[in-house]
Amino acid sequence: MAAAGAGGGGRTYSFKVVLLGEGCVGKTSLVLRYCENKFNDKHITTLQASFLTKKLNITGKRVNLAIWDTAGQERFHALGPIYYRDSNGAILVYDITDEDSFQKVKNWVKELRKMLGNEICLCIVGNKIDLDKDRHVSVEEAESYAESVGAKHYHTSAKLNKGIEELFLDLCKRMMETAQAEERVKGNGASQSASSRRGVQIVDDEPQATPAGGCCSSG
């Protein structure tokens, strides 16, 4: 279709973000906190915390975020690749009081880079900073590791709702940059549909919310 980007808002970016982390690092609370709707108690989707969506508006561009939770247990590990294929971003969560959970993060980083290359935006997140007195992973170690693998490092507390908004906003911006860069390489996005299965998905602005406009004759 040739009508892409005709409207004022342009496109809607759709991003897939996988959430990785060991059992008790608090990734579920983290993502729930983020998707919480202040005006609505029934904020959790029918799939609860496993799969969440969030609509954002970043610098005038619409972003649909789909957040995929993954099982942290070792026995589901082999199934990881089918979860994170086609992801635009990954959030790797560890517990700052649990050295082991940080080691797991390192393993995932290796695997993700191996499977998805450099196109995926990585965020390494040290959660539970409210328990700083029990910290077992040093800030310096974590940050220098993140830098060494091309990831960004964040500190969060789901309990205190600290750092979470920034984490996701930052990630979205990075994913948009990556998407735009990819578009430029592909020659102004002439053949996006062909690549939609892998990487960024850019859909035309849908008139879903406004049934009166835009249908049939868009002239």
Partner: protein, 681 residues
């Protein structure tokens, strides 16, 4: 005189003259009628005389001559009846009944109706009948092989016939003028026969008169119909050219024409043509313009799909038949084998007729290299040697078509593979094709080869299906431009897919089951080992299922999700199956919520929703309890046919989770030893 169509002319002219006479006769213009009858007789005798004189090439057939003479005879009879008529009252005409031979058989009944099918043979209506009759395709299969067991799949020919029969119920074709006329004539003939039966045996005069007037009417009807038909055909041709131009204009913008464009253009011409004949597309378009509404879209598409002569529907049937034709030889020979089910090599007898000769060329190679037409074999990189048809021709029969060489390769592999397992089963074919002494060493290789070949077939078929659906969607959008918005397009696609997959799914999933046979077996073993397992045995945290059996009132935990998932195999369309999986996961979440509330009855209900860490073990438990290894193949198929738009959404997430759970269940039986450790999680 010797022009091409002069053959029929004398008779026709004579008929016309006689008709005029009868008309005059009917109008009580006796004198003129009398003259006209005599003129007819005169003309006939003249024509026959001329024919007889030019001895060299007798153009007129004997039948024709006979008919002419009989017509003359009848005219003579009528003419005779006028003598003395002026004196007699019109009804009482006993005068000339004697002495004249009554017509032994009503000639028009014998002569005219038989010409009707001949005239209409070239008419479009006839095509309809051709479609209904089974298409003669290359492979003739033995439908019933005596006592042998039949595969649950219909042969493609039957499949195709069912397709057309089903769709013909929904709409009737309009009759062409000729058809209409022939129907009318049949009615006339029936009336004539009824009247004739009512006549007393002596009333030869009335008989003749009835016969003549029937003949006249029927002839007349046919001539008028022919003229109308010709006019119609001319108009259709003109219109076709006009529409062709219109289609050309529309596609001109796209520049260079590929074969697909060409095909699309032809299809679009057909659509335009259809729209000239039918009003409903215009009406629907007007509706859609006034009130562009999602429910209207589904209604429109389902209406469209019920119109069996619309080009979209024709294309749909064509593609379905093609896919089924490819699937059938692959799946009709036996269902996926789980250890519990006996294998049935006797299915192969289905293909006996055609393949006997082929086997000799293929089978003699000894299982190391197999031959097949390169154009149908998607992979060339394997141990299989796909030769070109050219080099192949020397030892394969010329009649072999693609599917057959396909089939035979398959069949050969299958038989080699199964033979050792069934040495006890008497099967003449097996004896023919396999040398039992070579079997054991080759068995594994061949099995691997077979699976690999099946995988390639599957890949090719999946690709075909994607192409077919793309083509159907774009034709649909070309036909109804108002559907060409992002959200309407999805609705349209959903309807098309449902129509497309419904008759094909069982055969399609059978192929997926063959390819994923090993995984299904693993699933089944785990399923049996864990049939009495509690949710805790597969890693579900204690707080997420009730330990007290009384709470469940006899059902298993997450029973509602299990029941929902069991429905998956009953649907025949990927989209619906996907919805079923989503419902299953939602039910799991709802159940988990309930169970947790039971545990925390006293404390304040805090909404710590379940995440993937909890969801996957529960889903694995539900999959185990579902007791349906076919889920493995079903999900593998869904993976191929899920829309890209759904891939990262809730549907995609649910399918991915389901796949993970199934894979986990498959692995369960191997790691039974370390289960207690898992339990602690």
């Amino acid at each position: 005189m010797a022009s091409a169509d002069s053959n029929t002319k004398p008779l026709q002219t004579a008929m016309k003259m006689a008709k005029a006479a009868i008309q005059l006769d009917g109008g009580n213009r006796h004198k003129e009628a009398y003259c006209e009858y005599l003129r007819t007789i005169n003309y006939i005798s003249h024509a026959l005389l001329e024919e007889a004189a030019s001895q060299k090439d007798r153009e007129m057939a004997a039948v024709e001559e006979e008919r002419m003479l009989r017509l003359a005879e009848q005219c003579l009879e009528r003419a005779k009846s006028f003598i003395g008529r002026s004196a007699d009252p019109p009804d009482a005409t006993p005068a000339c009944t004697s002495g004249l031979p009554g017509l032994p058989e009503p000639p028009p009944a014998a002569a005219l109706p038989t010409t009707i099918p001949a005239v209409s043979a070239g008419s479009p209506v006839q095509a309809e009948q051709k479609v209904t009759s089974p298409k003669k395709s290359g492979h003739r299969r033995v439908l019933s092989d005596g006592g042998g067991e039949l595969s649950p799949f219909l042969p493609p020919e039957v499949f195709q016939r069912l397709q057309t029969v089903a769709s013909q119920d929904t709409s009737r074709k309009e009759l062409t003028p000729i058809e209409e006329a022939s129907r009318l004539n049949q009615k006339l003939k029936a009336n004539y026969e009824a009247r004739l039966a009512r006549l007393a045996p002596g009333q030869a005069y009335q008989k003749t008169s009835l016969t003549l007037s029937l003949q006249r009417q029927m002839m007349e009807n046919l001539i008028i119909a022919k003229a109308r038909q010709d006019a119609l055909q001319r108009k259709m041709e003109e219109r076709r050219l006009r529409l062709q131009e219109e289609a050309n204009r529309r596609f001109a913008a796209s520049g260079a024409m590929t074969a697909e464009d060409q095909e699309q253009r032809i299809l679009y011409t057909n659509v335009l043509e259809y729209e000239q004949d039918h009003d409903w597309p215009k009406q629907w378009k007007a509706h859609m313009k006034e009130n562009p509404d999602a429910t209207l879209v589904s209604d429109l598409v389902s209406y469209l799909l019920s119109q069996s002569d619309h080009p979209v529907v024709k294309l749909l049937r064509k593609h379905q038949y093609r896919v089924y034709n490819k699937l059938y030889p692959l799946v009709s020979k036996g269902l996926p084998q789980s250890p519990a089910l006996p294998l049935r090599p006797s299915h192969s007898i289905h293909n006996l007729l055609h393949s006997d000769a082929q086997w000799k060329s293929v089978g003699s190679v000894g299982g190391q290299s197999f031959t097949a037409d390169s154009s149908i074999s998607p992979s060339r990189s394997q141990n299989l040697h796909y030769d070109n048809q050219d080099t192949e021709e020397s030892h394969t029969p010329a009649t072999v078509d693609r599917e057959n060489s396909f089939e035979d390769l398959e069949q050969f592999l299958t038989q080699l593979d199964w033979a050792p397992l069934h040495s006890s089963i008497e099967d003449a074919d097996l004896g023919l094709t396999c040398d039992p002494s070579e079997q054991p060493e080759q068995d594994e290789d061949v099995q691997e080869l077979e699976i690999r070949a099946l995988k390639e077939h599957l890949k090719a078929i999946v690709k075909d299906i994607h192409i077919a659906i793309d083509q159907l969607l774009s034709l649909c959008l070309l036909s109804f431009e108002c559907l060409n918005t992002a959200s309407f397009k999805d609705l349209c696609l959903a309807s098309i897919e449902e129509a497309f997959f419904t008759p094909l799914w069982s055969a399609l999933v059978a192929l997926f089951r063959k390819v994923h046979g090993e995984r299904e077996q693993a699933f089944e073993i785990s399923m049996k080992l864990y049939q009495d397992a509690s949710p805790g045995d597969v890693g579900v945290p204690l707080k997420l299922f009730p330990q007290n059996p009384d709470v469940l009132q006899g059902s298993c935990p997450y029973e509602s999700a299990v029941q929902e998932l069991k429905l998956l195999v009953q649907d025949c369309c990927p989209q619906r199956k996907l919805e079923c999986i989503v419902r299953t996961l939602r039910l799991i979440c709802a159940c988990a919520e309930d169970y947790r509330c039971l545990h925390e009855a006293d404390s304040a209900p805090q909404t710590a929703a379940i995440g993937a860490d909890d969801l996957l073990p529960i889903l694995s438990f539900v999959a185990l309890r579902c007791q349906c290894p076919q889920l493995v193949a079903e999900c593998a198929a869904l993976e191929e046919f899920i829309h890209e738009g759904y891939l990262i959404g809730e549907e995609g997430y649910c399918l991915t989770s389901m796949q993970s759970a199934l894979a986990f269940v498959e692995s369960l039986h191997m790691g039974r030893a370390d289960l207690p450790a898992d339990k602690l999680l």
